[in-house]
């Protein structure tokens, strides 16, 4: 009978541990965005060396806004595991967000990019650049592709915003082969207010 009690206790402790880790991931993702948001505002008001936290080594490159969904997230340079923990990442080598060309941004399906499933054709996405300039995109299509299908990265020279996240949204385990891709096309530029 003692064995079962130990087993039960071990399961509870392990369960609490995993739960804490599982809660820590979205908490970190959300906290990072709050700090990034502040740093972004300082960057925009001219402080070029603004860092979200002292040891941060990821540079914010843009802010994504979706007015209809009240979404506002800061995008970091580089779509590596390390940067994606804090915010969506801009793929090195793709066009800068808001510039002519195909800007590709990837984000985690269960944190920053969970809102992608709510996007519909016709939705407006704003990209805010560090200079304060704004570019306006309209969602054209959403598709599901295999991770090996790189057609979403194709460069045509036209202003395109490509948002990528893992699919399906409700899958529990990470590492699946499918990706959900939102393609939005440039619809105009504006000047942001400081």
């Amino acid at each position: 009978m003692r064995g079962r009690s130990w087993l039960g206790l071990a399961a509870v402790v392990l369960g609490l541990g995993l739960l804490a880790q599982g809660v820590w991931i979205p908490a970190k993702a959300a906290a990072a965005q709050v700090l990034l948001d502040r740093a972004w505002e300082r960057t925009r008001s001219g402080d070029e060396r603004a860092r979200p936290w002292p040891w941060a080594d990821h540079r914010p490159v843009a802010r994504i806004r979706v007015p209809r969904l009240e979404v506002s997230v800061i995008v970091l340079e580089g779509a590596t595991g390390a940067s994606l923990a804090f915010g969506p990442g801009h793929l090195a080598g793709s066009a800068p967000p808001g510039a002519p060309g195909n800007a590709v941004i990837a984000g985690h399906r269960d944190t920053h990019f969970a809102f992608l499933r709510e996007l519909r054709a016709g939705d407006t996405i704003w990209i805010e650049r560090p200079t304060g300039a704004l570019r306006h995109y309209a969602v054209k299509a959403t598709t599901v592709v295999d991770e090996r299908d790189l057609s979403p990265l194709a460069e045509s020279g036209e202003a395109v915003l490509t948002l990528i996240t893992c699919f399906p949204f409700d899958a529990k385990a990470p590492g699946g082969p499918e990706r959900y891709v939102v393609r939005a096309e440039g619809a105009g530029a504006g000047v942001g207010l400081r």
Partner: protein, 681 residues
């Protein structure tokens, strides 16, 4: 400031359209006619077509330092359509390609040398007339394209090319390298818009032309996805006649069978897939003399002479060792991911251990961003070395390969505080903008010397040797992690010992020698000269200085052995020297004319000349169309597909999974505890 964009993340877009027919999931694929055949599709979709399969046989005959190679590419068309195959493949960067033949059934058609555009026109005319035709073009000194048109359904055609090469004595032996895969190259620059993907033929690689690399589509063949298994089997055979008793023969790259045929003769056989460079090294039994090899070959109006002299090692240092400023530049781009970055780390740690406290050093790492460890070079004290070791141990590879800013930073930031300044560049050289980088080295070298260390299973030899040559340094390859210390040790002996400089060559007879000026030599390197003389007569003498000590050597030309292909080697060196002079401001059209003249004379493939073969027997009925397909290549061994953009980024956290599992365990544990309570009461 120049704003730079580049393609690396996008580079393997080629394999998006590729899949094995066997068990293919895509309904759009045509019905499988056989297993293992490869289907390709243009980057913008379009119809699936079947690529011909390819097998390669390589036979290398080595006589002393001379290599004669025959590379047979066997194309097989398993489809029921007429196909054109286009295959981008590598050869050693100093290879002089002088022969092409095409075998169709029992007919052998020999290739002719033509100016590049003329050869292309001949090929295209024959292609549309339904004739079988093969074309060999040079894209880079080490990247070539075979195009083969009108391969009938179920038909097999052999295209064979031959080249001549001279091996360099390095350190203590010879190193023969046969590259087997063109690694994906990072293509910097802004795309030239609009770009149209014209089918899948030559010039339809994964990269688009950019302002910096206008021929990017020609040097970026699609890559087969590693999950689909390796393609392109290769059989390679070396008949080695070293001319000296051999102490050691080994391949650091492959498992080989070595058969001993005599004290200086071996037969080496290897069979594998084309996913990494083949390397064979051999070392004669040690001897004290100055090693010399002289070969000559009669030519119309004279003879060609090839000379290789191995100066004896310097006497024990008579002068105190000079303090140095060493800047290490390390490539941490995506192509370096995996075993390569581990080799680079190990090489750097070894190098740090060789610094004296009075030396100065710095480390620059780059991918698409450049980052220096210290603001300027610092003294190699214990603290600085500790910081550097930590920096090296935490290097990881990801991102693009913007080499130019790193190179300029390393060459430009001279503190002027040490008498000797050296830049050690650790990279796989996987870039397409070699010319731009060579130009930057010419401009900003100053008093620095540039040494390249080639890492990985398929380094870009053209970049490695070209950069070292312009940087007046030398290049080293590390094929196998186990030989890192040995190779870096040899490099450091070169860095630490004085060069053999001010070399002058006197010929009794009038001689046209290439290169015109003999570069400085590092310890363990040979003097290699090729000259055209009016007759084999008199002596050749070489004079130079090493750290104040004179070096002198002379030998009568008559002692030389007769060697085949010496004229071709001379012509190849002349072409390389001419093209290099263009980088230093020589007139472009004059250089072009001179290169074309030499190349046509010696039947050589060059930047401006191609070999073309046409079988005049028409085969393809005019009514049947011809499908083009570019053959994909393997990803070099050890490369990580995700790091060079082969797959879309992974974008899910383990959060939901951890929460679900955690909750489940919590419930289970609680149940177990509660049941225990019941049991007690």
């Amino acid at each position: 400031m120049r704003s730079r964009t580049g393609a690396w993340a996008f580079l393997l877009s080629g394999w998006m359209g590729m899949g094995l027919v066997a068990g293919s999931p895509a309904a759009a694929l045509p019905e499988a006619p056989g297993s293992g055949a490869l289907f390709v599709r243009g980057p913008n979709g379009g119809a699936w077509s079947m690529a011909p399969t390819l097998e390669t046989d390589v036979a290398l005959a080595v006589t002393g330092p001379l290599v004669r190679a025959r590379v047979v590419q066997r194309f097989y068309n398993a489809s029921d359509q007429w196909l054109e195959g286009v295959y981008v493949f590598p050869l050693p960067e100093s290879a002089a390609v002088d022969h092409l033949d095409m075998t169709v059934g029992d007919r052998v058609i020999e290739g002719q040398i033509e100016e590049r555009e003329a050869a292309k026109r001949i090929y295209e005319r024959a292609r549309s007339a339904g004739h079988k035709t093969a074309l060999i073009e040079q894209e880079r000194p080490n990247v070539f394209t075979t195009s083969l048109a009108n391969i009938g359904p179920g038909e097999e055609i052999e295209v064979a090319i031959e080249y001549q090469e001279v091996l360099r004595w390095d350190d203590a032996g010879f190193r023969l390298s046969f590259p087997l895969v063109v690694g994906p190259r990072y293509i910097p620059g802004a795309p030239i818009v609009p770009a149209t993907h014209a089918g899948t033929g030559a010039g339809a690689g994964w990269a688009r032309a950019t302002d910096v690399v206008p021929d990017a589509p020609r040097i970026t063949p699609w890559v087969s996805h590693p999950q689909d298994g390796p393609i392109h089997p290769v059989r390679l055979r070396v008949e080695l006649d070293a001319g000296l008793p051999l102490a050691l023969v080994e391949s650091p790259s492959h498992v080989v069978a070595i058969e001993k045929l005599g004290s200086g003769r071996r037969r080496v056989v290897m069979g594998d897939y084309a996913d990494r460079d083949f390397v064979l090294e051999w070392r004669p039994e040690p001897s004290e003399e100055t090693r010399t090899a002289i070969f000559s070959e009669a030519a119309p109006g004279g003879a060609h002479v090839l000379l290789m002299v191995m100066p004896p090692a310097a006497q024990e240092a008579k002068q105190p060792r000079l303090d140095r400023e060493v800047v290490f530049v390390v490539d941490v781009s995506g192509s370096m991911s995996g075993p390569s970055i581990e080799q680079a780390r190990r090489a750097l740690l070894f190098a740090l251990g060789r610094l004296d406290p009075t030396d100065r050093f710095n480390i620059v790492r780059f991918n698409h961003e450049t980052h220096a460890l210290f603001e300027g070079a610092v003294l190699a004290g214990a603290d600085a070395l500790e910081t550097a070791r930590h920096f090296v141990e935490t290097l990881h590879a990801d991102g693009g390969t913007e080499m130019l800013p790193a190179l300029e930073l390393a060459l430009g930031a001279d503190t002027g505080l040490a008498p000797v300044r050296q830049v050690v560049f650790v990279t796989d050289g996987s870039v397409g903008n070699e010319q731009e980088l060579f130009g930057a080295i010419d401009r900003s070298l100053g008093r620095s010397r540039l040494f390249t260390v080639g890492i990985g299973s398929a380094p870009n030899g053209h970049f490695m040797s070209g950069a070292a040559k312009r940087g007046r340094g030398t290049h080293t390859y590390i094929v196998n992690p186990a030989e890192t210390d040995q190779k870096m040790g040899a490099l450091f002996r070169k860095l630490e010992q004085p060069v053999l400089a001010d070399l002058e060559v006197d010929w009794d007879e009038a001689a046209e020698m290439w290169p015109v000026r003999v570069p400085d030599l590092y310890v363990g390197e040979p003097i290699v000269l090729a000259a055209k003389v009016e007759r084999i007569h008199g002596e050749v003498a070489i004079r130079g200085r090493r750290a104040g000590d004179p070096f002198e050597w002379s030998q009568p030309l008559e002692v030389g052995e007769a060697g085949r292909g010496i004229g071709v080697l001379w012509a190849r060196r002349k072409i390389a020297s001419l093209l290099e002079s263009q980088g230093r401001g020589a007139d472009v059209s004059a250089v072009r004319a001179a290169v074309v003249a030499v190349a046509l004379d010696h039947h050589l493939v060059s930047k401006f000349t191609s070999l073309v073969a046409v079988d005049v027997t028409p085969t393809r009925p005019a009514a049947e169309g011809l499908s083009q397909s570019a053959l994909p290549t393997n990803l070099p061994a050890g490369w990580n597909a995700a790091k060079v953009g082969g797959v879309l980024p992974a974008t899910a956290t383990p959060g939901p999974w951890l929460r679900t599992l955690g909750l489940a365990l919590l419930v289970l544990g609680t149940l177990l505890l509660i049941r225990k309570r019941f049991a007690i009461s």
